[in-house]
Amino acid sequence: MNLIALVVALPLLGAFLLPVGARSVGWVGRLLGPALLLLTSLVVIVLWRDSGGVPSHIELGGFQPPLGITFYLDQLALVFALATSLLALLLWPHAAWRDARVAALMLLMVSAASGMALSGDLFNLYVFYELVSVASFGLVAAPKTGAALAATLRYVIISGMGTVMALTGIALIYTQTGTLNLAHLTLLSATTLDNTLGLTAFVLILLGIGVKAELFPVNIWVPEVYATASQRVSALLAGLISKLAIIVIIRLLVLLFPQPEALTLLLVIGALGVLLGELAAWHAKDFERMLAFSSIGQLGLVLMAFSIPGQAGLFAGLAVAMHHLIVKPALFVLAERWSGGFAGLAGAGWKSPWAAGLFILFALSLIGVPPLPGFWAKLMTLLGLLGQDNWIYWTGAGIILLATVFEANYLFRFGLGLFKAGSESRSAKVPVHDAGSLGPSLILGAVLLIATVMITPVGNWLAGVADQLADRELYVTTVLGAGRELP
């Protein structure tokens, strides 16, 4: 089982060697990145098959868990590690083929992202989170236009503040508990973290890691960065990295801070995110920013789903998160050719019907039109929210319903704009999608359709993952082993 460390080590090795070797070895250097990603996804698949669904852990450096750092491999971690490699492979930015440094940044991001999914140590999660954000600074600033650089700078400042808050949170936790291993912390949390100090630490870490998870107060950077960065990088950031940040928060929530106030806090932040995101998206007048605001709204929805107490909440949250993981990158890839204001895109649907068809499919799934998985995810969330006897949860459900109406309006305002007839719209200047530019969207669309057809097995599997995530005792016994004497 120790081979899982390769998932973090190999891309890192590739990243270190790429800037050195790229000039001399030419195309081998270019292919090194995708090859490594293929290798890591194979490793994850093999390990997943062997583990057969039973969570296990590995000790890095061979030291006993509470002292050393451990990687915890349950279904959730493995699925996100696999998703990281596959999605990065699918969305390999065009700049990465030309410039070895961008390829190195991508490899760093992938290794840190899978590290974040797997790691079972508080400070280690922070280091991987920091590596992901520094790598994303590089990828976002890659276009080197004035706007991209300014947007990245504002992003660096707000991430810097997030770092400070996360560090303070970790310091508080360490002062109180004296350990960093999540399993050990879970044992101690009942006695030490179940008070205002625990909540303060949670709030600080939530804001710290929330920068990447596009939580309400700290997602000011999202529209600027997604509008200026290259679309595939935005796809990766919006689709994958934000989910990983949320998964980290949820793992901390489930293991260390099971207090109800934390859940209501998540709900309030999520609700504000949904409301502001969807309203701003309705107001946006160009495609990228509409997608950026819609991703803020969707992530607010993910947070609200996770804020439902108990296993139902985790199940609904995972469903919405996985659905957004598939749909948003595909939409951003569509934005590669269809970037810019809506006026310029009037009638673009006639010239590239496949792209328009894909957009309609993804829009329907985002809104939650039945047979598509988006509907089941939203239904689970709403039933969960309305199932609580608490008026805040009911207002949350109301906000989701209101936001869906706005979502339907702005998505199909753009969708129908694609088919606006009229002579000038058929002119040459309308951007056209061809097979090359649609590749990733087509694959993700196929995945969505497969999930639609096999909704019951996918649902049961997700319920299994949610059960494992919700089970704190399983986590502690797997990592620390039953009955071990602890320092």
């Binding site: 890095l60 440094r101 002062t175």
Partner: protein, 228 residues
């Protein structure tokens, strides 16, 4: 609006943190894991400096993450600052005093740097501190003779090789059946220069990498354009 609210909010945050912090009993860190490491570290890793044992042994992946962050930071700084064939500002030639003192200081700083790196597992200090000193050492000639070309390619190669060496050592442990980044070659006798198995090698490699990276970073900052 900003000038009023920011001090207010900062004061509020400080107040809450103080209220929360006041509950800790003074100066008595629980040291739940710390005490166990202090007992166990000398035997398992064989280092005198327990912090090095923690940095490279117990929390090795943290340090790997750390040098990756530094590598990314200097990579991005290079990516952003580099411009092909940028004009070289005509800088005033440094005075004689600076030139001569740099010639004197350069070997001295190299010695100090390597000393600190190699004794990382015995005395305080190690890869990071030594690497910074090496970077400063490489930076001095730039101050002395502003016009000289910086061998960026050389720096990049050392940086890449050192980083991959760090990982390769970890992988060797993995492929020998142990865990990733497991200390190798036994522990040797504590207190000796050649003790603590693979840790000193890791620190050496780390020092070289940090040194090369920061030198590259400083070079990028100094020059407008630079050939790579």
């Amino acid at each position: 609006m900003r000038n009023l609210t920011s001090p207010l909010f900062a004061a509020g945050l400080a107040f809450f943190l103080l209220v929360v912090v006041a509950e800790f009993e003074p100066g008595a860190a629980p040291m739940v894991v710390g005490q166990a490491i202090l007992q166990e570290a000398p035997e398992t890793t064989g280092t005198a400096n327990i912090v090095t044992a923690v940095v490279l042994g117990y929390r090795g992946i943290d340090t790997l993450g750390e040098i990756a962050i530094l590598f990314t930071a200097s990579l991005v700084a290079g990516l952003v600052l580099e411009r092909r064939g940028g004009k070289r500002q005509a800088q005033a030639p440094a005075g004689n005093v600076l030139r001569i003192s740099t010639q004197l200081l350069f070997p001295l700083m190299l010695v100090i740097g390597f000393y600190i790196i190699l004794h990382g597992h015995l005395t305080p200090g190690g890869g990071f501190q030594g690497g910074v000193i090496l970077a400063a050492a490489f930076f001095l000639p730039l101050l002395a003779r502003p016009g000289i070309q910086v061998r960026h390619f050389g720096l990049a190669v050392t940086e890449g090789l050192a980083g991959s060496a760090f990982i390769v050592i970890g992988l060797i442990a993995l492929f020998q059946g142990g865990a990733f980044l497991q200390p190798l070659f036994g522990t040797g006798s504590p207190g000796q220069l050649l003790s603590a198995g693979s840790l000193p090698i890791l620190y050496l490699v780390l020092g070289l990498k940090v040194g090369a990276e920061l030198a590259g970073l400083l070079a990028h900052l100094v020059y407008e354009g630079s050939e790579t």
